[in-house]
């Protein structure tokens, strides 16, 4: 890389001890002359929540778990949840992907932190004085919960409405408990309750209350209702006995009202819900479970990790089949005929499967569970002047709808996504709502991305292989125990030590005036301002 201007030849007078630095960015935030910038580690670049992954991984490596947890909690009050079920874009972004292909187990390390502190009540965050403003959040899933947390910290009175009997959204009512145990969700929800966030469960907006009432009674409203409708195939027999649908199936299981499944189960669908259903079917007594979908394994929208776990539980994955026709012998379901799917996406990349109708296959089944996708259910705006589909269209930056005080976030806006993306959206919406209520321009100066292109020094960090995630092999019917276990301290620290620690703050523009606030604000005394060489 050649010298681009005379500045590049000047030395950087900011000295950072990367063994003490926790990459928090306080120095960058306070640098008056706009000198300091953060080389943003690739894991952080990938995280939708902008968690300081490098920070907490390095702190674990240094044996400072408490500080590591503080770093996590700066942006995330749910390390137990994400430490278990996050789709881990950070690991996809880890620099190791370019070398040995074995990312640092950042997610497992987050779960490790949760394990270390789960028996202690997490500290209540410092909250601002009561603002007198009231906010209604519709939906207590990931987006709604994190928005509630952030808004309560800003001093606002938050009420979260949910039509189910308990809060949590998909965390509580869909994701199987063998992935995310109920007690973890309940434990993390306790903090929100301690903060005075009000939960009003069993209230469906559109039935028990209307959007008009919320709009009138609250200073701002956040819609975070997710996607609870399930797509139907629209084929004959879909409503008959033996034929179930994914989301209601999973919800019933979480509600202790699991429907009966037979011995030969076929699950239709290639997404996360379908995979969750397949694994759940075994735990309800199925003897064989086949997962039949349009896609090849590589094309399946389900997370790789989930597919891998399902396969290890003997779910048989049969890809490239679709267009099912159900078959019944009088009242009993006997199976379904499928056609070979030759391609899933068309030339424009749109979902438009094509079939070879001459190639058929019959799948025997006494239970078929259809999990082909989610959609909006449309009760939200019933009996109100608002139009639901228009409320799904939001400003890309602020997440404000066309109605001034209504904001929307999560799957309701984006379509089916991931928990971490929903949380990221919830956080953005909370920031917008807080600005809105305080008369601060919503879109202005929202984020200052760090430096994303820089040479990575890979000399730091051990050459150890990636840890083996401890797996619990389920024992059969009725066993809903968590399938992934936590790691020991020794394993965690060893894994954390694999991290190259690639990011760091630096004096990018050589405009230092050595006024020293960066040092004052550094929480770990990791930064030292030398007098610039020209003046020294």
């Amino acid at each position: 890389m050649g010298v681009s201007n005379m500045l590049e030849s000047l030395s950087d007078n900011i000295v950072v001890d990367s063994d003490k630095c926790i990459f928090c960015g306080n120095c960058v935030d306070k640098c008056i002359l706009d000198n300091l910038r953060m080389k943003l580690a690739s894991c952080r670049q990938a995280c939708p929540l902008e968690l300081n992954c490098q920070g907490y991984v390095q702190l674990i490596a240094r044996g400072e778990e408490a500080k590591a947890m503080e770093v996590v909690r700066e942006r995330l009050p749910f390390p137990g949840v994400l430490g278990r079920i996050c789709s881990q874009p950070c690991e996809d972004g880890c620099g190791h992907q370019d070398t040995d292909g074995e990312a640092v187990s950042i997610r497992a390390l987050k779960r490790y932190l949760d394990d270390q502190f789960k028996d202690q009540e997490p500290p209540r965050p410092e909250m601002k004085a009561d603002s007198g403003k009231r906010i209604a959040i519709v939906g207590s899933g990931p987006a709604g919960l994190i928005a509630a947390y952030d808004l309560a910290i800003q001093g606002h009175q938050v009420t979260v409405f949910d039509r189910e009997s308990a809060p949590g959204g998909m965390l509580r009512w869909s994701i199987p408990s063998f992935r995310l145990p109920q007690d973890v969700v309940e434990r993390e929800l306790k903090l929100l309750q301690r903060m005075g966030i009000a939960f009003k469960c069993g209230i469906a907006i559109g039935e028990d209350m209307t959007m008009d009432e919320l709009h009138a009674d609250f200073d701002a409203v956040l819609i975070a209702t997710g996607l609870w409708g399930c797509l139907k195939l629209g084929i004959d027999g879909e409503e008959r006995e033996g034929v179930l649908h994914g989301l209601p199936f999973l919800k019933a299981v979480r509600d202790n009202a699991a429907p009966a499944v037979g011995t030969k189960v076929v699950v239709i669908g290639g997404g996360n819900v379908a995979v969750d259903v397949a694994q759940t079917a075994y735990r309800l007594g199925a003897e064989s479970v086949q997962l039949v979908c349009l896609e090849h394994r590589d094309e399946m929208p389900a997370f790789d990790k989930a597919i891998f776990e399902a396969l290890s539980e003997n779910v048989e994955l049969v890809g490239s089949w679709g267009n099912p026709r159900l078959e019944f012998d009088q009242k009993k379901l006997t199976g379904a005929h499928f056609e070979a799917c030759t391609s899933v996406f068309d030339g424009d990349g749109c979902f438009n499967p094509s079939f070879d109708t001459s190639k058929n296959r019959f799948f025997e089944a006494d239970t078929i569970i259809i999990a082909i996708g989610q959609k909006m259910d449309d009760i939200l705006c019933t009996s109100s002047r608002f139009d639901q589909s228009s409320l799904t269209r939001v400003n890309a930056v602020t997440l404000q709808t066309s109605v001034e005080k209504i904001f929307a976030a999560g799957d309701f806006v984006s379509g089916p996504s991931s928990v971490v993306s929903a949380m990221a959206a919830g956080k953005e919406a909370a920031e917008s709502i807080n600005r809105y209520l305080n008369g601060v321009p919503m879109a202005y100066g929202r984020s200052y991305p760090g430096v994303t292109e820089f040479e990575v020094d890979r000399s730091f960090g051990s050459a150890d292989r990636r840890l083996n995630l401890p797996h619990y092999q389920f024992k059969g019917k009725g066993d809903f125990s968590e399938i992934e276990a936590g790691v020991t301290r020794e394993v965690a620290r060893k894994e954390a030590n694999r991290c190259h620690s690639c990011g760091l703050p630096f004096g990018q523009y050589r405009t230092c005036w050595f006024c020293l606030p960066c040092e004052v604000e550094c929480p770990t005394e990791a930064l030292w301002v030398d007098i610039p060489y020209l003046l020294r």
Partner: protein, 554 residues
């Protein structure tokens, strides 16, 4: 890049969140808690401006039984060699003690001796006004107070244009220095408190940011006011200070008042006859420098006192600078040297003309701190006039109805932005360009001056104005905002050259010293040289204004 802009309303918009701006923000909320007060701050308000951390003194306080406001007016007028408007100085001195007590009530430390008296030093020709302060967190105290009172601070926001509704100010356009986003503020009143042009001449150390005063001060306030039709004055007061060599950090009075000696290069003592920066600079220019401070004869407790103040308040980096040169005050010396040339209302006489209510000649526009011309107002001036500006601005905002924004003015600026952003393939980096601009400023505007040099300065500034568009590369937002800063530096230089040319005498030696007019000429030049904007910014119009005395004084 996003050319959509954000929008905010304000009753009082304060441009620049340094000492004056922070105090103005606090005061605006004190006089009317319900009004909306917005600050545009180019950096980060908690530590921005000349006083990044703290200060070692409040230079002007008329403490009852020690000094009076009248004495201050008399004394400062001598220091300004008569070019000083009395009413605004009187007001500043009159309210200075109250301001000090206010700061004390906020836990700002003014050390007292065993008798309970403050330490008050004599740094002016007459009277003791300089009260020692020992407060390393002064700026943070001010910033937090403003935030607690509900002031809306827009950090990383540089004001680039003022907006007008007819003759009245209607707000300002701000630009985010990190993202390039625009923020348009409609405001009923605006206070300019963005410092002087500290980043002006190139320091001898060669580091663009190694200047004496805050390098973020690039004459933004001067140029905003100028373009909006305000009167500016004192641009011929080309200041050069005399302080610690290379690092450009101050330290004279702290040491002298504790018994340090001053020596020139021939070991001749210079601390006896009332040393001041001007005298030392003259001696240096005569070839007898550098002047050095020696403290090796002082008792340990005095040296410790000095170290404690120097190393904790205004420029704590001094400590590591001296350590880096193996310089222990107990055995070594501190070498002093001229600073770069700069323009400032706090140390000098440069600024936007204001009356005793901090009003400029533009309705709705006020100024305070180094941006305003109070005459050597220092920190006291910034704080007191900041308060006064807030009081006046709040009154004006309450009593003059709504303002309307002119979309054409906003659109016109957007087009300018687009033109600049199209400069991404030009050959010259903005840093290289700035280096050259400031070198020429040093060559031609640093005293001693003469008409030939001043004309050369004007020639170069015209050229640079063009090259800023045709040669300078704008590859990213950082380059972009630097361009605005350098544009203001160039404009300040043009105004400086014109005012210096106009004043055909020497005054405030050695600062406005002209070898072609080496004598002071009170008969013709005991007046203000006023600059206003013509049809375009490069067309600087010159006029005169008389010195304003207190009523009843001649």
């Amino acid at each position: 890049m996003n050319t959509e802009h954000s929008f905010i309303d304000a009753d009082v918009l304060i441009i620049g969140g340094g000492s004056a701006g922070a105090m103005a923000a606090i005061r605006a909320k004190e006089v009317n808690p319900d009004q909306k007060v917005v600050v545009f701050e180019k950096g980060q308000m908690k530590y921005s401006g000349c006083i990044a951390r703290g200060m070692d003194a409040m230079n002007i306080v008329a403490i009852p039984d020690i000094a009076t406001a009248e004495l201050y007016v008399e004394s400062n007028s001598i220091a300004c060699e008569g070019i000083m408007d009395e009413p605004v100085n009187y007001k500043m001195a009159e309210r200075s003690y109250e301001m000090m007590k206010k700061l004390e009530s906020w836990d700002v430390c003014f050390p007292k001796d065993d008798n309970g008296d403050y330490e008050v030093l004599k740094i002016h020709p007459k009277g003791r006004f300089c009260v020692t302060m020992k407060e390393p967190e002064l700026k943070a105290i001010l910033a937090n107070k403003a935030l607690d009172l509900g002031v809306l601070v827009m950090n990383r926001t540089m004001a680039v244009r003022l907006l007008k509704d007819g003759e009245r100010i209607s707000g300002a356009i701000g630009m985010n220095v990190r993202t390039g986003e625009m923020l348009v503020c409609r405001a009923k009143s605006v206070i300019l408190s963005s410092g002087g042009t500290a980043r002006f001449g190139l320091p001898d150390n060669g580091h663009l940011y190694g200047v004496y005063d805050f390098p973020g001060n690039t004459g933004d306030g001067y140029c905003l006011a100028y373009r909006a039709g305000a009167e500016l004055s004192g641009f011929e007061y080309t200041l050069v200070y005399y302080i610690t060599k290379d690092i450009n950090a101050p330290l004279l009075y702290i040491t002298l008042t504790r018994g340090a000696t001053l020596l020139n290069a021939f070991d001749e003592r210079r601390d006896q006859d009332h040393p001041n920066p001007a005298k030392m600079l003259l001696e240096h220019m005569d070839g007898k420098g550098p002047i050095r401070i020696r403290m090796d004869h002082l008792p340990e407790e005095k040296i410790k006192e000095i170290e404690e103040i120097l190393f904790t308040t205004e420029r704590p980096a001094c400590e590591r600078f001296h350590a880096g040169r193996d310089n222990d005050f107990r055995t070594g010396e501190i070498e002093m040297w001229p600073t770069e040339v700069y323009l400032c209302g706090g140390h000098g006489l440069t600024g936007v003309r204001v009356n005793e209510n901090a009003e400029t000649n533009v309705p709705g526009l006020y100024a305070a701190g180094d941006t305003s011309l109070v005459a050597r107002g220092h920190l006291s001036g910034a704080l007191v006039i900041g308060e006064v500006a807030a009081e006046s601005a709040s009154e004006y905002a309450a009593g003059n109805g709504e303002v309307t924004l002119d979309d054409d003015q906003v659109e016109s600026f957007k087009r300018e932005l687009e033109t600049r952003l199209a400069q991404k393939n030009n050959p010259i980096a903005i840093e290289e360009f700035e280096f050259k601009v400031r070198r020429m400023i040093s060559d031609y505007l640093k005293p001693p001056k003469n008409e030939y040099k001043l004309d050369r300065a004007l020639w170069w500034m015209d050229r640079f104005r063009k090259e800023l568009k045709t040669m300078v590369r704008v590859a990213n937002v950082h380059d972009l905002f630097k361009c605005f800063e350098v544009e203001n530096i160039i404009q300040s230089a043009t105004m400086c050259a014109i005012a210096s040319k106009e004043r055909k005498e020497s005054r405030w030696s050695p600062w406005h010293y002209r070898t072609d007019y080496p004598e002071k000429n009170d008969a013709e030049w005991k007046k203000h040289i006023v600059l206003t904007c013509g049809s375009v910014p490069e067309d600087v119009k010159v006029s005169y204004k008389p010195i304003i005395k207190m009523e009843g004084r001649v």
